[in-house]
Amino acid sequence: MPNNTDEKNSTMKSPDTMGSLVWRRFRRHPGAMAGAVILTILILSVTLAGLSPYDPEKSDIVNRFKPPSSSYLFGTDGLGRDVLVRVLHGGRVSLSVGFLVVAISLSIGVPIGSAAGYFGGWVDSVLSKVIDATMSLPALMFMILLAAILREIDLPILKSNSRLTISLVLGVLSWPTAARLVRAIFLTFREMEYVTAAKALGASNLRIIISEILPNGLGPIIVESTLGIGYAIMEESTLSFLGFGIMPPTPSWGNMLDNAQEHLAQYPWLAIFPGLMIFLAIISINFIGDGLRDALDPYKILAQIDE
């Protein structure tokens, strides 16, 4: 590695923690840093919009279909609602769904993947069958079916239109990716000497799974989860665009674009801004994921420590 000379000096100065090594590598990745800055701005502005008095659902018929101007930066829609306010509120919905989906798929995928990889045998073959069966469903079609059914039921916790419901719909199909990754990690590490040692010392299975093996997979899991937020945002907006996700009047980037479709010829700004936001959010998340992949690569980190 030719560009490691300056690091060598700094490693000598202070003992490095894992976190500082990762951060140093991440910082050198211009795309990832740009992504992190954009995403931070996005998250801050959608959070502030949530606290602001501007109501995304308040209509103002006199000012309908106003093109972007100094008083309405992104213009107004068919009910005279401010597109900027709606885009920001929509972002709150889309981003939080993104995080929720990843949380759901990790909480299903990590235990299942760990059990399959650690215990092997019939546990593995049963769980792997479930993983494969889930993965052999046509994803978007299945999500539409599930959303349609859940809308019919309207359970007290799962209100048909809530973010939690949509996140569940997406999470039900996204956990196998996490499960497969975790399973592969366990297959790699379960035969390691330190695992045998832990067993010999009488550590319980749960302890070995959680504190001996799982931490090895933290890097790949973090990377996949980051990218997973991006996929989830894309899928949520696709579902909402098709009318099976977040329903109007609650704004989401996808249903705003659905609404924009019929006015495309006369009022194109309705289509431009929500799409641009999806694009910005996902591209910055992907860049962050890419940067994390490089930064968390254990071999690159080890190489740094060794030097």
Partner: protein, 346 residues
Amino acid sequence: MGQYIVRRLLQAIPMLLLVSILLFALVNLAPGGPLSQFSRSRRMTAERAESLKRQFGLDKPLPVQYIVWLVGNDWMAIDTDGNGITDSFGTRKGVLRGDFGFSYQNREPVLPQILDRLPNTVYLMGITLIVVAIVAIPVGIISAVKQYSAFDLTVTTLSFMGQAMPEFWLGLILILVFYVSLDNPVTGKSLLPGGGMYTIGAEFSLVDRIRHLILPVSMGVVGWVAWWSRFLRSSMLEVINQDYIRTARAKGQNERKVLYRHALKNALIPLITMIAIDFPYVFTGAIVIERIFSWPGMGRLYYNSATSRDYPMLMGVLILGSVVILLSNLMADIIYAYLDPRVRYD
């Protein structure tokens, strides 16, 4: 090898049963059941609901319903008028014999309606997939061979953008530019049509067909090319760093031959994975593309059935979709085993 294929095919059967049980349970466990759509109608009386239920066989316990759905009921006596006495044999043949039941929307059998839409989807998505391969393979390979060149950096940037571009937004922008804004300087009409497979009422013309393909195909191509080219780039880079490539260079083989004879062949093997992931769309269609461009294919059929809660139709498309996905994965594994001697198949 033959044994391996047979065993994999046999393994796919329980998987499909599992998927079908899952889908069947999901559709039927929903409160209100699959007929809930009808119960909203004002003309619906309790009596009519009962008779409809019997007609669709929904008065039976779920496991029985599943078996009827799977293998039909023409071998068992059923009670059609609800008086408690079995009076005739069933008429359902079951999914295994190609009977997917009747669509709630038009009371026509499901399968013929699916088969009716299938060619349109195969036509659109098949061409899309071919265009993707033609563009992505050279782009991915060249950007790996010329790593960090201006070309590679451009491709990498574009592929990041392509992966982040929401498909439906791209579709809207394409319509906005090529249908709404740009006009054909000669005729003064829109440069490209904004939907449909051909001009309705006009005589068949190849030019017209192609003009109708350009926007939907472009919409589908962008995302896929972004993924494929990025994937191929990293697979080619991995191969280039292998020992046997160094060996080929060391023995004085010229660089072109090293790259395009030794490396390319191996770098293309992982492409099978990409194809296996995307190939099922040739049959299940792309809902978003077909919806935006009013394309009369499987995707739109599914979308319309979902809006009207036509569960037999949804089940039919989903099951066929799962079959295609499983077969496509199976094919990929077989081709892998055939091409890559390192893959063990015991």
